[in-house]
């Protein structure tokens, strides 16, 4: 089974990394650097692909993050649910796809399938090919925004399908959710779909994370920073 390296010794050192087919919920308060942490964790290593569903940032901004982290942009795909509402004529490319709003779950599902398909067909990265079957890291940024547009019950069904597909293609996915804005029922329902949880908290300006439910990892809070896509644990 493929193992996804996280670059975080506390995870990689214990279990070698994240097992293929893992879905992780990242619970974080607003204003934290959870988004950077999530992107750092789904940054592709050599031979891997990454796909981000962005409901908060434009595709160009997402790609910029990965470029600044030293990634080859040919292995980064973005499904952008922001830009099309202001630029309706924007057209899809193989790696940058657009839906008109986070409401459009039909469009999001189709674009996701199309991107996965192109990684399998070897047409994703302008002739460059990664490993096969393609290891794919995936990030939904964020479930919080999706929940502003669609009801919990509908989103649960959507995520149920998405997480099942991630398992099937043996990907590794992180789903960001603001745990301050939603009630316990919402959080526990979404957690049911996941294999593990990464919690993020802030103390002043410091950020901490802890990993729950991933085999072998300790649930201790770790103070961290993210610089150019690298997660640094602060002793």
């Amino acid at each position: 089974m493929y193992i996804y390296k996280t670059g975080i010794a506390q995870i990689d050192g214990v279990s070698g990394g994240i097992e293929a087919g893992t879905n992780i919920l990242m619970l974080a308060p607003s204003m934290s650097s959870a988004e950077q942490l999530a992107y750092a964790l789904i940054k592709p290593v050599q031979g891997e692909y990454s796909i981000v569903l962005s409901t908060n940032e434009r595709a160009a901004e997402v790609v910029d993050f990965f470029k600044s982290a030293g990634c080859d942009k040919r292995f980064i795909g973005v499904i952008d649910a922001i830009t099309k509402s202001s630029t309706p004529s924007i057209a899809d490319t193989t790696r940058l796809m657009f839906v008109s709003s986070p409401t459009d779950l039909t469009g999001i599902g189709i674009k996701f399938s199309n991107m996965i398909e192109s990684t399998f067909e070897g047409t994703f990265a302008d002739g460059e090919t990664g490993l096969f079957p393609p290891p794919i890291r995936f990030c939904v940024n964020s479930i919080s925004t999706l929940l502003m547009y669609r009801k919990l019950e509908v989103l649960y069904q959507f995520l149920h399908i998405l997480t099942a597909k991630q398992k099937k293609i043996e990907g590794f996915a992180i789903y960001l959710l603001n745990n301050e804005s939603f009630d316990d029922r919402t959080l526990s329902l979404i957690k049911q779909l996941m294999n593990g949880v990464i919690e993020v908290k802030m103390d002043g300006t410091d950020n901490y994370f802890r990993v729950l439910g991933i085999k072998g990892t300790k649930a201790d809070w770790q103070k961290y920073t993210v610089n150019k896509g690298q997660v640094m644990i602060v002793p």
């Binding site: 309706p88 039909t106 599902g109 189709i110 399908i161």
Partner: protein, 387 residues
Amino acid sequence: MISTGMTGIDDMLGGGIPRGSKVLYSMEPGVNGQLFMISTIYEALAKDLSCLVILPHTTVDAFLHDAANMRGSMLQTDGKKIAFIDMIDRERIQRSAPTRDAAEKEWRARISKLCNENQTEVIFGYFDVMYEDFGLERGLNLLKSCHSGNPPTVIIEHLNFEGNHLLEQFIEKMSFDLVVSIKASFGLLPHFNFFTLVHTSWAPMQKRSVPFIISNGRIVPYIPKIVVTGPPDSGKSTFVASASDQGGSIDRTGLSGDTTTVAMDFGWLHWKDFDITLYGTPGQPRFDPLIPMLLKNAMGAVIVIDVTKPDGLVRAKHLINLISERRMPLVIAANKNDLSGGMSEVEIRTTLALTKSTPVFFISAKRNEDVRFVLESLVDFITQFSY
């Protein structure tokens, strides 16, 4: 009748959708089937029907560009009778209507006003969000707000998370006339898409599934495999070659100096909105181990016989038995009918013990129109076959 914009599907439906019908395109999540609805919208406007398009999930501009990207050409709205209710309208309703009842009233008023102004004949609704906001019955009842003479035809697309249970509700509780379910066969990823005519109220029809591909902005029903088999020298390779737009045969020259197929014939044709792939088998018994493999996943079969060679029917009977085990549509092409001394249909039927439902066509495989007629009949048979 209103055309679906997909000729092959119109044919399966007996010409299209009767006016005043209620139609559902049900989409499985992740399956690229948006062109079904788009094709029908394009066709309705091309026929100058007055349309109301309800898009609570997107803006009109984004929808028009998305449709153009899918279809390959912009939807021609200039001078056409088309009105929209889009995401921006929904947001306005949400802001101005504090309760669900108030929102429902506002939706009703808007739909009614636009229908009256435009004498709407067809409502196209992207239903997911209306379903979420109002539920199935109340959501669909909103579309009844349209009173402009005859009841309009209602065509909706819905992202179906609930599977067959929801389809049954559309059919039984909401009396939908046509339910088309669009799905994919998933391995690691969707390896083929197919649509199923789940229910048709105006014609008795078996539930029917047909794969499709998207080509040049169009839904193309796709028959991935029709097997053409029969006794040696009955004209199978000629049949495949006559039928095909492209293809080839793996032959060698036999002792008699004639060529004989030693692996397979292969042909591809685009016909009446269908893409069809033909696989021709060798005729000699020593190749029989190949035949089950070639029959695997086939959607139909043609047995080619030589009407001037009654001895060949024993071999044909054996092949029919092989095919019958797999329960697939089968037709008989009685070839070389242009030569004298051929068998009659009664002789053929009796010797082969054919049921009445198995058609026998007298043809010359050299004539393209004969061969296409056999395939046309087989495609009809495939799309209506009771498995």
